[in-house]
Amino acid sequence: MTKHFNLLRYKELLQLEESGKYSLLDETFLELLTYQASIGCQISYNQKENYFSLIEKYLSRVMTPSEFRLKFSEIEKQDSRTADIILEDFQELEVFMLANDLKEFFDLKSEISTLCFGYYEVWDGTIEPMSESEFYNLVNNSYLQFQKAFPVLSSQNLTYENLIYRLFKILTLSIGLGILLNLIRLLRIRNIDEF
């Protein structure tokens, strides 16, 4: 389900901004921000599989925390650059479509984005930095919400990876048990022979 980007209203808001008829805390400013943010968010939404995959890779420890933060920021920056170009192109904006569940996606992606972005911010020398485990838990919390909101997309790869991992574990365990049983059997045979 999608809807059109309201170009007419966006143009009005831009004119208001140029005339300086609002302050930062006005609803008008927030409305303009919402319009601008929706474009960037839709671009991210269009490649949400990449975001999911990235988060999953981090959560399954395939990717290091710093790699994850860097990669997440890079994808976001790329989306932001694309959005910046589209926001200048009214012809493209006229036919631009927005997903209905964009807000949910925006909220969840923003949570992780804020975490990644603010992770390195330093306040003063006395404060305790956020630990990696705390960061992991916070990302995981957002991811669980992601899974609920977008069940079709979520963690197909992760399930598959988990399944392989579990199978491998079971296989290793079975082989180990087999070897152990054989050893016990051999020992018993020896004991019987000795007697």
Binding site: L30, D84, S113, P129
Partner: protein
Amino acid sequence: MRICGGDGFVTGGFPSYGHDSHEGVTDRGADRGENLDPKPRLPARTGASGNFKSSSSSSSLQANKIPDPSECNFDPKSWVDDAEDSCQDFEESESSCKLPVPINFEYVKDSNGNPTLLVPNIDSTLTVKGRSLNRVEYDQTASHLYHALEMGIQLPKSFDLEKYKSMPKPEKIKYAKENVTRETIISFQNACAMAISPTFGIKTLPVRGFAGIGKENVGMVIKNIPNSKNRYLSVIRNDGTHISSYPVNPEKLLKIAQDRFWVWKDRNFN
């Protein structure tokens, strides 16, 4: 205290000869009024000729007595010498005050001789009473170099950003000072100061906000970036210390606005 102009020249009244201390500078109104007294002050004469210092007439003046004309030194040659000494003193103070890169703000030097930029506070209606200057400090800026590139400041290729990011603040500062030129840090300081300072024709808005898990009160400045939908977001502590400036896209700014301008809310700030 010595306040220097953005172009490296001494401004804000007269150079204070013989006062090399750079500490104790605050942006409190009363302190500023005292330090920036626009009245001309006589420099403490300790020139090579030493005429004034050693003359008995100066002791007469100190004792509020009319000096004996015989005690006065009317040798015009010595006057010329004094004038030259004074000029040399001025030039020396001027050159010691000059920065390696041009900046747009007045500044004072910290205990290490690095500049602290003094930026007029635009948050005059909402801020703590009496504060009209924000301070962009050298060390604080040196600990935020991961935003330098976003603010248009190039870092050397040898600078290991990932290593730097993982360091605690004191090590960040040390690493920055060892691996980045002073010019680069000052340029970044200037860029941060520009982000919290109004520019004609560019929308710059102050707002009150919060930072950290403890929800500390902070000032924020949001400034439009020309030819972009992104804006600079700056966070300033209530004592006027600039914490950080970085560009945010509309999504990030919207999120911050939705959070009622509460940034870094998951961080373990005290």
